[in-house]
């Protein structure tokens, strides 16, 4: 239900949508699957042992965040990953950069205690 309300609200801050979308493990799983190929809701519902409406809700959140794209093939919609928002907002190497700076500092403190 939360997901539906979120879609209707239409946030004006796209990065917030991406963070919200990716915070959920099912949606991360969906992104993983869709990173390999285009899939239909039925296929995805089978892979996650979830109802079609539940998967559709998750896909709605991902669509809102522009993390997936949909197209119609005959009577069904197929979804695929759009990695751009992740690349744009997340210079993720920067996180490792901070991590190692922090850790190399901690290593220095650790070594300092031996002196």
């Amino acid at each position: 239900m939360r997901a539906v309300r979120h879609v209707k609200k239409r946030s004006s801050r796209p990065t917030e949508d991406v963070f919200y979308a990716i915070a959920d493990p099912t949606r991360r799983g969906l992104l993983d699957l869709l990173s390999e190929r285009e899939e239909s809701v039925n296929f995805l519902a089978g892979r996650f042992a979830m109802s079609r409406p539940a998967i559709s809700q998750h896909l709605g959140v991902l669509l809102q965040a522009r993390l997936v794209r949909a197209r119609r093939v005959g009577r069904e919609r197929r979804y695929r990953l759009n990695p751009r928002p992740l690349e744009e907002i997340h210079d993720w190497v920067a996180h490792y950069e901070q991590f190692w700076k922090w850790k190399l500092g901690a290593l220095g403190e650790h070594l300092g205690k031996k002196k």
Binding site: R13, T15, E16, F19, Y20, I22, A23, R28, L31, D32, S35, L81, P83, L86, E87, I89, H90, D91, W92, V93, A94, H95, Y96, E97, Q98, F99, W100, K101, W102, K103, L104, G105, A106, L107, G108, E109, H110, L111, K114, K115
Partner: protein, 147 residues
């Protein structure tokens, strides 16, 4: 987008002391993470990560090179990046060069994001002095964290 990171730090300790800090599981735990490391090529081990936001995650690693006390290298996580430490004696102690490279793929980006999510606040709070613009940017993003 950058694909690798390099750091260089000089510590006032002998290469042997630094090597021990990098390879002894207890010492390693005190500055990096809980682990079951052993400096044998092919040894598979995990770093155990706990974040304040409640993530618990094991980083699956494998030792690629262990040349005491000069070079230590391991594969880091499922995204398959590689962390390499090189130790070089200097007049002041030991120059440690750290290289982390081979980032790639959506899975890697996603995992790294999740890891970063847990770390960034802690880093920001504890070590504001060493953070550059990247740290500030990450903190700004965290304010839009969906809460």
């Amino acid at each position: 987008m950058r694909r690798e990171l390099h750091f260089e730090v000089v510590y006032p300790n002998s290469p042997e002391e630094v090597w021990r800090a990098l390879t002894d599981p207890e010492e390693l735990a005190s500055w990096l993470m809980e682990n079951n490391f052993s400096p044998r090529v092919g040894h598979k081990f995990q770093f155990h990560m706990k974040s304040r936001l409640g993530f618990r995650r094991a980083i699956e690693c494998e030792v690629l090179e262990a040349d005491e006390p000069r070079t230590l290298s391991y594969r880091w996580g499922k995204e398959g990046s590689v962390v390499t430490f090189r130790l070089e004696p200097t007049s002041e102690g030991t120059r440690l060069h750290l290289e982390h490279k081979g980032f790639g793929g959506v899975r890697g980006r996603t995992l790294a994001w999740m890891l970063g999510r847990g770390w960034k606040r802690k880093i920001f709070v504890r070590l504001p002095g060493i953070l550059g613009p990247a740290g500030l940017r990450a903190e700004n993003l965290s304010k839009g964290d969906g809460k």
